[in-house]
């Protein structure tokens, strides 16, 4: 059949024309078109990527800000705690010291009182002894003014010795 027999003329012209079309389109149409499309795609991808990156940067900035704030807050907390501790320590130390001082003062006062007391007691004892001797001397002197009373005295003393 004619219809399935390729004609030479059309084969010839199709070959030439198709090759020409392929060459011209590849060089002057497909190359710029494909390049431009690819460039645009890359530009879009790049823009999207940059936007994503900016977003991430912003997020990280935000989170770092938050971190900073948190840190500052923690530091403040720490400082306050430390101050409180120092205050407490100081107070307790002072108290301790005061207590110590006071007890020391008390002790020494007590000692001094004791010493004074002892001294006073000794003085009193000495005075009492002296007074007693003086009294005894005075009594003896009045008692032994006459020989009868002296004798009576000696007798009474003799009785007492017997009793003992």
């Amino acid at each position: 059949m004619d219809i399935v027999t390729p004609g030479f003329g059309l084969l010839f012209w199709t070959t030439i024309t198709f090759m020409f079309l392929l060459f011209v389109l590849s060089k002057f149409a497909w190359k710029p078109i494909l390049n431009a499309v690819k460039e645009r795609e890359e530009a879009i991808d790049g823009a999207l990527e940059a936007a994503e990156k900016a977003k991430n940067d912003l997020m990280s900035l935000k989170s770092s800000n938050e971190d900073l704030l948190k840190e500052a807050r923690a530091e403040r907390e720490q400082i306050l705690r430390e101050a409180r501790e120092i205050k407490e320590n100081t107070i307790s130390e002072a108290k301790e010291l005061a207590k110590e001082e006071a007890s020391k003062v008390l002790d020494s006062a007590r000692e001094q009182i004791n010493n004074e007391k002892l001294a006073a007691m000794t003085e009193v004892k000495n005075q009492a002894a002296k007074l007693a001797i003086d009294m005894a001397e005075k009594v003896l002197r009045s008692e032994l003014k006459d020989p009868a009373s002296q004798e009576k005295m000696v007798n009474r003393a003799m009785d007492e010795v017997k009793l003992n």
Binding site: D2, L10, T17, F18, L21, I33, N35, R40
Partner: protein, 397 residues
């Protein structure tokens, strides 16, 4: 092939929404007209003499023998020397095209109008000492005297072959003219599209012809080339794009019934043969070691089977492009034949009342054919990409 089907349906959707925004088939008027015309025909056939059959050029209504559409259809889908436009008062009006012949003594040229619309071999063109006849749209050296049918060729009695010699014929026939016109159209389309990309500053969105074509270009690049060829697809994108748009635009031009459309270019075996040969050459020139080893010494099969497979695979080198050639040719030619057959119904039934059926069915088929234009371009390009992809495939897949 699931991925390709999805890819094509996406493309089909795009095409349909771009071209067919009207849902013809859902329109009730369509069915009403169909019903009306069918009932009228039945009536016409029954009533017989009351409705006169319409006299139309080329219809042998006077003869007893019924109209045979085969010859007309074959003539329409074949190539011809002139580009027939229409008939006017019994005369054919056609665009004359140059006839270019290489004879033993050199180049002979004249216009196709010299044949005076004759393709029965009855009119002899005498020029530069030669005598030529156009016998069934082929040029022969004319015989000295006409045969029984008045044709200046001698037909062999046994084989019905023509015994006259033929010059080497590179005439600008209807198909060649259509080819050249389509190439001008394609170049205009895509060079102006390329100009848009060259002129733009920055990366503006596509406008004008670029906005329509760019999705298709990207589709061919991504869905056809990238998906099927693999890593080195970039090299083949221009070829695939050229195939796709050459086939598609010529398919569409073939569907346009009036000048400068209507030539059955992509339904001509010579054109599809050239395209298929390009595929064959490109595929085999780019075949790597793995590709050739799969053809001549298939790995992974018993040694006894290897020679057998080598024969099969070697034949495959030729059958693959051959199938491309036949597929495109047959699909496009079949579309033209269906349309022409439906129109021929008017002449077969010998009543103009069948024309609503003819026209509506033709419209339906034409809409289908619009889809086929893109489908065939897609299939040709896709299979080309698959073959190239197979030729480039690395070891271990």
């Amino acid at each position: 092939m699931g991925q390709e089907t999805v890819g094509f349906s996406r493309f089909g959707e795009y095409l349909c929404s771009a071209i067919l925004k009207r849902q013809i088939l859902k329109n009730p008027i369509f069915f009403f007209l169909l019903f009306l015309s069918v009932s009228l025909i039945i009536q016409a056939k029954g009533d017989g003499p009351e409705i006169k059959s319409v006299e139309l050029e080329g219809v042998s209504s006077k003869n007893e023998s019924p109209y045979d559409p085969t010859e007309d259809i074959m003539h329409h889908i074949s190539d011809s020397y002139g580009w027939h436009l229409f008939d006017w008062k019994g005369h054919s009006i056609s665009v004359p095209l140059p006839v270019i012949l290489f004879t033993e003594k050199g180049l002979v040229t004249f216009m196709s109008s010299s044949f005076h619309h004759d393709h029965e071999g009855k009119h002899v063109v005498e020029t530069q000492g030669y005598r030529f006849v156009n016998y069934h749209e082929k040029i022969y050296y004319a015989s000295s005297s006409p045969n029984n049918h008045g044709a200046f060729v001698s037909v062999s009695k046994e084989s019905h072959a023509i015994e006259n010699n033929q010059p080497i014929d590179i005439s600008i026939t209807k198909n060649v003219a259509s080819l050249l016109l389509s190439v001008i159209l394609i170049l205009w389309l895509f060079l102006s599209m390329a100009r848009f990309y060259k002129n733009q500053d920055g990366h503006s969105s596509p406008k004008g012809v670029a906005s329509f074509m760019e999705p298709i270009v990207v589709f061919v690049r991504d869905e056809i080339a990238k998906n099927n060829i693999g890593r080195h697809y970039n090299r083949f994108v221009p070829l695939l794009l050229t195939f796709f748009f050459f086939i598609w635009i010529n398919n569409v031009l073939g569907l346009i019934p009036i000048f400068p459309g209507g030539a059955n270019l992509t339904g001509n075996i010579a054109v599809t043969m050239v395209l298929a040969l390009v595929v064959m050459v490109v595929t085999n020139l780019n075949g790597n070691k793995n590709y050739w080893s799969h053809i001549f010494w298939m790995p992974g099969v018993p040694v006894a089977v290897k020679p057998l497979l080598a024969v099969v695979e070697f034949i495959g080198i030729f059958t693959k492009p051959f199938s491309l050639m036949i597929r495109l040719f047959a699909n496009i030619t079949a579309g033209h034949i269906i349309v022409l057959s439906l129109i021929s119904l008017i002449f077969i039934f010998e009543t103009v009342l069948v024309s609503p059926v003819s026209v509506l069915l033709t419209l339906f088929i034409s809409v289908l054919e619009i889809l086929v234009t893109a489908l065939q371009a897609y299939i040709f390009t896709l299979l080309t990409a698959l073959y190239i992809g197979a030729a480039l495939q690395e070891e271990h897949h």
